[in-house]
């Protein structure tokens, strides 16, 4: 596991992003090279390319858009693997560029409240730990609220992250009302003049109406103290998730007014292509990606880097 580079280290970021995405890009670019080794771009080739894109979880719509673009400009021409990679990266980057926005903390808010939501097991608590570290590195005072009062030992897990990042943790009892806890945490953060309050929530599947209503209540209760809070609501998505991620974004956006996304587990073989489909459909900012379990294994989302790593333009067929 790599733990060398800090988030401000550009070189480290790219290396890590690339190593995180290396498995996906290898599979994808190997496939592309296989198809395009000095061949004419005909219907069969385009179909195969579309299939390859689909296997990166990019979604049928985007896959069709990319191949449609190639069909318009390069149909029946000799095309090399490099050219198709460049075209693919360009298309992907053009979709992602508008949504690659860092998480902005409003310094006039005391505290700036960040609510972290998502389905079970996507990595909300770990993401909060990493975010806390980054914010601390930026010189901000951070408080954590252990709003996952349902899962066994979720509170202890956040408390350990609090110790690691040297942040106070507001925690209640297991089974306590999450909304009430968030309210108390906000009151305490105000009293202590904290810069950023990170509120953890229990994982919930977006099709569970009662759990989503509970989340709605958390937001409602926080607003009793601060009508503008939460100032950021982050949806944590798991890179291994397939097309269901689209549903997750849709429903969490409806219920909790999601303001931005973080994708985790991009250090595996999952390609995270679904982010492209999500960007196209929802246009929500993508703030960061998780590439490991260490406290520093989170990077700002970089559209060009992501797109190029996915399409493997840098390596130029050496893989």
């Amino acid at each position: 596991m790599t733990t060398d580079a800090g988030p401000e280290n550009g070189q480290g970021f790219f290396t890590r992003l690339k190593s995180g995405l290396s498995h996906s890009k290898t599979a994808l670019s190997d496939g592309i090279a296989g198809i395009f080794n000095k061949r004419k771009l005909d219907d069969d080739t385009l179909d195969e390319l579309e299939d390859l894109l689909i296997t990166s979880d990019i979604g049928v719509e985007v896959a069709a858009a990319v191949t449609g673009q190639l069909r318009q400009t390069r149909y029946n021409k000799e095309i090399t693997a490099d050219e198709v990679r460049a075209a693919l990266a360009e298309e992907v980057a053009s979709i992602l560029a508008p949504v690659a926005l860092p998480l902005a903390i409003d310094p006039t808010r005391k505290p700036h409240v960040i609510l972290v939501v998502g389905v079970n097991g996507t990595g909300k608590t770990t993401t909060i730990g990493k975010l806390a570290q980054q914010l601390r590195d930026d010189g901000k005072s951070v408080m954590l609220a252990a709003g996952d009062t349902f899962r066994a030992a979720a509170i202890e897990q956040l408390q350990i992250w609090g110790e690691r990042t040297n942040c106070p943790v507001v925690a209640g009892k297991v089974g306590a009302d999450a909304a009430g806890l968030a309210f108390d945490a906000l009151a305490r953060a105000r009293a202590d003049n904290i810069d950023v309050l990170l509120v953890d929530t229990a994982g919930r599947l977006q099709n569970k109406a009662n759990l989503m209503a509970e989340l709605e209540k958390v937001v409602r209760v926080i607003r009793k103290l601060d009508a503008d809070a939460p100032h950021s609501t982050l949806l944590v998505l798991d890179a291994t998730t397939g097309q269901n991620a689209l549903n997750q974004v849709e429903v969490f956006q409806q219920v909790a007014d999601v303001s931005g996304l973080i994708m985790t587990k991009l250090d595996g073989t999952a390609r995270g292509g679904i982010l492209v489909a999500i960007a196209r459909r929802f246009g929500l900012p993508i703030h960061a990606i998780g590439v490991g379990e260490g406290v520093n294994d989170m990077q700002a989302f970089d559209a060009t880097g992501f797109a190029h790593a996915l399409a493997d333009v840098e390596i130029n067929g050496k893989s």
């Binding site: 066994a152 030992a153 250090d267 999952a270």
Partner: protein
């Protein structure tokens, strides 16, 4: 997404069933759509390709082209083949070894290993009267061992005492010897989540496996997984020799294509599936039901089972008797609305009904409000007992009172009364046909919920 997908399959199947005879090109068109549908359901590409080829061979054979309803025949073949690929039989956990039998659970981070460990242990304890010991080898995630300990308390299953700083292989050894000494039937080893490409952690798993010789090595996998499912399953199977798969988050609204992919590439049966956050929410995997779900054909069996669980038999019998007499009043309607809510409301029911893709889009178009049921019950609650049994009494001034009492409008009250009338009429008709299958008789209330166009 899924609505459009199900809609698409619904269209394909519609087109097929409408046609009297099928040409080869009809079948090819249909299969192209089936292919895309499977891909959108997150079935992995290589698996989809094999699948479509196999279907094509069968579909183009004599059995379809010469059958009475060729369209139906194709659908049947697709469904059958899907079930076949998912494993046609339910496969139980294997306990045939000298106790303590060791089970080991492996998988990616966040797939649900710890929860599944506790759920399986509880099943073994409750259903099979086994004495189970659980041990967490997760020294990676903060408080993971603590999580299993707490779950053990909730499930009333013993857990191995935590020794801080002990490494996974040592914990496994200690668990097995504690299992032997304590006279346990089963020792369950929960492991840390890891990426299948993390060499160091995969080697650690192999080491644990060597010393513990598990009877079951189960891959815990998220039903919402996308195309990566094949990579994960293949790699874990290669390193760990999996004996089965536990599918989690089956209660989500994913289409579960990952199940098909993983079964296909590993050949391992899917043994259990997690269907909720509570510890008793773990069920035997039924291939036919998941097949229907992947195809968007709905899970009718589950709906019927759920209905059987939720609807009080006594209430249902009372209702049946009333229907027979043709005296279905507003109090009965309220009762029925309550049962509908228990089943998870319109959305819950629709999700399990065949052809729901189309239904759902219609419902959305009609702008149906889930709160409608709640509001309708409120309206009925605001009536006097006499009004409930004699709806005809409800005239203008009473309507205003009821609307004010329930926080609705007179129009809402009117609509409810009209719906009740329609339902009562339907009930009467139905009672003439006999009251067999109360489930079906209970359902006509549903169309009444749609606002009139």
């Amino acid at each position: 997404m899924f609505d459009s997908l199900t809609g698409r399959l619904g269209d394909v199947f519609d087109r097929l069933t409408k046609q009297g005879t099928l040409s080869e090109s009809d079948i090819n068109d249909a299969l192209r759509d089936v292919r895309v549908a499977l891909l959108e359901a997150d079935v992995a590409l290589p698996v989809v390709k094999d699948f479509v080829t196999a279907i094509k061979d069968r579909a183009l054979g004599q059995e379809v082209l010469k059958s009475v309803a060729p369209g139906q025949m194709v659908i049947k073949i697709v469904h059958e083949h899907l079930v076949e690929m998912l494993g046609s039989e339910d496969v139980e956990l294997n306990l045939n070894a000298v106790p303590p039998v060791v089970f080991m659970l492996v998988g990616l981070q966040g797939s649900g290993k710890t929860t599944s460990t506790a759920k399986i242990a509880m099943r073994l304890g409750k259903h099979q009267k086994k004495k189970v010991l659980m041990a967490s080898l997760d020294v990676q995630r903060p408080a993971a061992q603590e999580q299993l300990r707490v779950l053990g308390e909730q499930a009333e299953v013993a857990t191995l005492p935590i020794i801080p700083g002990q490494m996974p292989v040592d914990i496994a050894e200690r668990a097995i010897s504690a299992g032997k000494l304590g006279g346990y039937d089963v020792v369950m080893l929960d492991t840390a989540g890891r990426l299948h490409v993390d060499e160091a952690l995969m080697a650690e798993l192999e080491a644990v496996r060597r010393i513990s010789v598990p009877q079951e090595t189960l891959l815990v996998a998220d039903a919402l997984t996308g195309q990566d499912a094949v990579n994960v399953a293949t790699e874990f199977n290669k390193r760990m020799n999996l004996t089965g798969i536990v599918l989690t988050r089956v209660d989500g609204d994913g289409r579960g294509g990952a199940a098909l992919s993983m079964r296909a590439v590993t050949g391992c049966p899917i043994k259990l599936m997690g269907v909720g956050e509570k510890l008793d929410e773990m069920e035997v995997f039924h291939p036919d039901r998941i097949a229907s779900r992947i195809l968007g054909m709905g899970d009718v069996v589950s709906l019927v089972e759920k209905a059987a669980e939720s609807i009080e038999i006594e209430e249902a019998e009372k209702l049946a008797a009333k229907m027979k007499k043709g005296t279905f009043d507003l109090a009965d309607m309220s009762l029925q609305l309550g049962q509908l809510r228990k089943l998870g409301g319109m959305e819950g029911i629709l999700a399990m009904l065949p052809g729901m893709g189309k239904m759902k889009s219609k419902v959305n178009a009609a702008n149906i409000d889930e709160n409608m049921i709640t509001r309708q019950q409120a309206i009925i609650s605001s009536m006097t007992l006499k009004e409930r049994t004699h709806p005809k009494l409800v005239a203008a001034s009473r309507k205003r009172r009821i609307a004010a009492g329930s926080g609705t409008t007179v129009q809402d009250v009117n609509r409810l009364l009209k719906q009740h009338k329609q339902m009562a009429q339907m009930m009467k008709k139905m009672s003439k046909m006999g009251t067999k299958g109360l489930m079906r008789n209970g359902m006509p209330g549903m169309p009444g919920l749609m606002p009139p166009h």
